[in-house]
Amino acid sequence: MTSPALRPADAAACAVALAEAARDGRTVRVRGAGTKSYLGELVGTDSVLETTAIAGIVDHVPADLTVTVRAGTSFADLQAALRERGQFLPLDPPHADGATLGGIVAANSNGFSRLRYGGVRHLLIGTVAALVDGTVMRAGGRVVKNVAGYDLNKLLIGSLGTLGVVTETTWKVLPLPKARALTVARCATAADAFAIADALVRTPLRPSALVVDGTRRAWAAIVAAQGEPAAVGRAMDEAGRAAARGGARSDRTDDDEQVLAPLRDLPGTATDGALVRASLPLAAQASFVAAALGLEPFARCVADAGSGIVRIHLRGDDGAVLRAADTLMAGARSVGCSARVERRDDALRDRLASWGPAPGGDFLMRRIREAFDPARTLEPARSIVR
């Protein structure tokens, strides 16, 4: 399944390459740096289109707090350039060292800081995308508020390359925070850890991360804050108090990255078993985790507890992993939420589907797909939308 690579240099060339593929009936995989090539159903395609040649910062206006950057640019390169001007893009996706901005958009790749900063959906204000009809579509713009026409940015976020190839992105950026700190509270049970997170999510503290991490034996509630030093100090004090109320011991550090980076990168390191990722109402997280541990006692859980994104790394024998993953996905949908198998061991790939039951409005999604890519040139099988 080695397929020839297309490496267009700009949006126009990308659109031409897509139109030619569509005309010839060839299928195309879209790839940035390939950091998330485990995601979704992967069937062989006739070619792979790489966006990495469509790179570079187009425009950064610090006083406007916006940056326009080509989609093949690496996230790390963008952050380094912004840092030189005292700013940052407040996203903390997994694979931050390798991922491209286009890939981050296509996979709606977020980290814990979306609780405070809103994630891709809030920060992305403009896109350019090459479409299979050979045209180049612009959505949004370079202003932070814009309701002219439909918000097609939203359609591209998380579309996994099935509607078009994102070639340029415009983002809201912010000044670097003056202070940052993190508190870890050690808890005996998952319920204790979720209770600490829950106490803090409904305060005006606006933490930059609220994470519950654990296995059957040990649990932690992790609270991070960024911003004005006095406000950060207050958040840490409150985190310590919430931990004490729950009878948990807590430690504070200023090196938040050392704690958060490995948790954020779980999708990158969970190469064995299966990694189930659920998006849940906040109050459903603790019972979802309890159910997961009931099904598979060796599971590890990392919950973005302020946003309701729960990852369960199932690591038992194959049979138990398969049963647990299927049950968790069906269970999530039955209470009006969703879960996916974000990653699984290659040996499980044929026996465990990425996607659970169809979401509401799936027929509309298929119609939209049909309207943008009638021949299914782009990523023919990868997404839940076929």
């Binding site: 006083a63 709606n108 202003v143 918000d151 097609l152 006095a230 406000a231 109402p281």
Partner: protein, 483 residues
């Protein structure tokens, strides 16, 4: 694939009303001319008469009426409180106006999940009032929040002063129940932050009633800030005031709100509300920082210093809740206060990158002088969202209105040329649909049409809005204008 030109054939007139009355019950349908008059206008300047008005009691009514309209080729125009500022609720091609006034229940304040579930006819402010006992509120706060509905907020992706730091409506919606034009009921998203597949909730918010009718929504509730500091600064002119805005944001402070108001607007506000703004100032800046108590005074001091450095002659900080409310009453009541200066006004809401504020405000002044029109400015400076209010008198006849619209167009043209947008929160509607080609190329509009056709293949939902229509935009030929 393109959107069909609006349906003009199909069931119309009193017969439409009678048939709907027998389908849904007479108490839910208006079709006598005197009853329809109330639905001819909204907050903007265009008018048109519907053939019938339906006031559904619930989702089932909405689905029945959509099925009926679909069978009989009747345009459907959803309407909240009619406060919209781009003619979104005007039935350009006749048909049925669907008023959601009776679907006004808050089903649930789910404090545990920081969500509310509500019907579209709930008034914006009522949701925050209902959530307050839980220490929560709904962030989007358009100036019309005492009257406008949540359904209208979703349709228009409404903003408001406090959306600078916390995001506009689309950032606060996680689930929708939508009735499509063929009567299909579809539930999108829910209480969780995301669902699988395409973000249809995100695609729907801001669709201006052209994709379907919202019948229920799941909205995010946000913890109330612990404390606030509200600062009013008076500047000799608008240039200095707008440079202060850029300097505040450039200093790394992201206030909850930063608003600007020019002297003409101040004059009206002071006459109507008495907010305590100095009348001799060329520009008034209103800024608010909020959050936890710690650090607020430090931010307030930095804002005060920046304002003084940029020439502020007076800087006042609200010391009590009453003080703060008074300062905000001036801003929120500014549009209504225009009645002190003029019988009518025409307002637009073009957006520009913040750093272009001084230049665009000079252009607005210049446009006013050239057209011989008075223009007041009161706007969301923090996100570059202008609100030039062009004062005029409708009784002077259609020529004056045309001149006003021409002047407004020049301002919008400049916004787009500066890399901005035609509209930041009021919507395109029937007011700016002919201008869309200024901002979007054929490929961009074609992509939007694809989205539209997927939801509403028959083109019955709010026809004549958002997209340029050949029949109404023929005389407005952009290429001709440019040459």
């Amino acid at each position: 694939m393109t959107v069909a030109e609006a349906v003009v054939a199909g069931l119309r007139g009193p017969e439409l009303g009678r048939r709907l009355a027998s389908l849904l019950g007479p108490e839910k349908v208006l079709w006598r001319p005197e009853d329809l008059q109330l639905y001819e206008y909204d907050g903007a300047v265009d008018t048109a008469t519907p053939d019938a008005v339906v006031l559904p009691n619930g989702t089932a009514d909405v689905a029945s009426l959509a099925r009926f309209c679909s069978e009989h080729h009747v345009p459907i125009v959803p309407r909240g409180a009619g406060t919209g500022l781009s003619g979104g609720a005007i039935p350009v091609f006749g048909g049925v106006v669907v008023s959601f006034a009776r679907m006004n229940r808050i089903f649930e304040i789910d404090a545990a999940n920081l969500r509310a579930v509500a019907q579209p006819g709930v008034i914006n402010l009522h949701l925050s009032t209902a959530a307050a006992p839980y220490g929560l509120h709904f962030v989007p706060d358009p100036s019309s929040q005492k009257a406008c509905t949540l359904g209208g907020n979703v349709a228009e992706n409404s903003g408001g002063p406090h959306t600078l730091a916390y995001g506009v409506t689309t950032d606060h919606v996680t689930g929708l129940e939508v009735v499509l034009s063929d009567g299909t009921i579809v539930r999108l998203g829910g209480k969780a932050l995301e669902d699988e597949g395409y973000d249809l909730v995100g695609a729907f918010v801001g669709c201006e009633g052209t994709l379907g009718m919202v019948t229920e929504m799941t909205l995010k509730l946000t913890p109330l800030p612990e404390d606030k500091r509200t600062i009013m600064a008076a500047f000799p002119d608008m240039d200095q005031a707008s440079e202060a805005v850029s300097a505040i944001i450039g200093a790394g402070i992201v206030p909850a709100a930063i608003e600007l108001m020019d002297q003409l607007a101040t004059e009206a506000v002071e006459a109507a509300v008495g907010a305590g703004y100095p009348l001799d100032a060329g520009g008034i800046l209103l800024a608010e920082v909020d959050g936890v108590r710690e650090g607020l005074d430090d931010q307030r001091e930095r804002i005060e210093t920046i304002c003084r450095e940029h020439g502020a002659t007076t800087v006042r900080v609200a010391t009590t809740a009453l003080d703060r409310e008074r300062l905000w009453a001036g801003r929120k009541g500014a549009f209504a206060a225009m009645g002190r200066l003029t019988p009518d006004y025409y307002v637009q809401d073009g957006v520009i990158p913040r750093t272009r504020l001084p230049a665009i405000l000079r252009l607005v002044r210049d446009v006013g002088e050239r057209y011989g029109l008075r223009i007041a400015n009161v706007f969301h400076a923090g996100d570059g969202n202008l609100h030039p209010l062009i004062l005029f008198d409708m009784s002077h006849g259609p020529d004056e209105l045309r001149r006003v619209q021409e002047a407004g167009f020049e301002i919008l043209e400049a916004c787009v040329a500066a890399g901005g947008s035609l509209t930041g929160e009021h919507g395109v509607g029937m007011e700016k649909n002919c201008y869309m080609p200024l901002q979007f190329g054929p490929a961009d509009l074609a992509a939007m049409e694809r989205l539209r056709s997927a939801w509403d293949p028959a083109g019955l939902m709010n026809p004549g809005k958002l997209f340029p229509t050949p029949s109404r935009c023929a005389e407005f030929d952009l290429r001709k204008r440019r040459s």
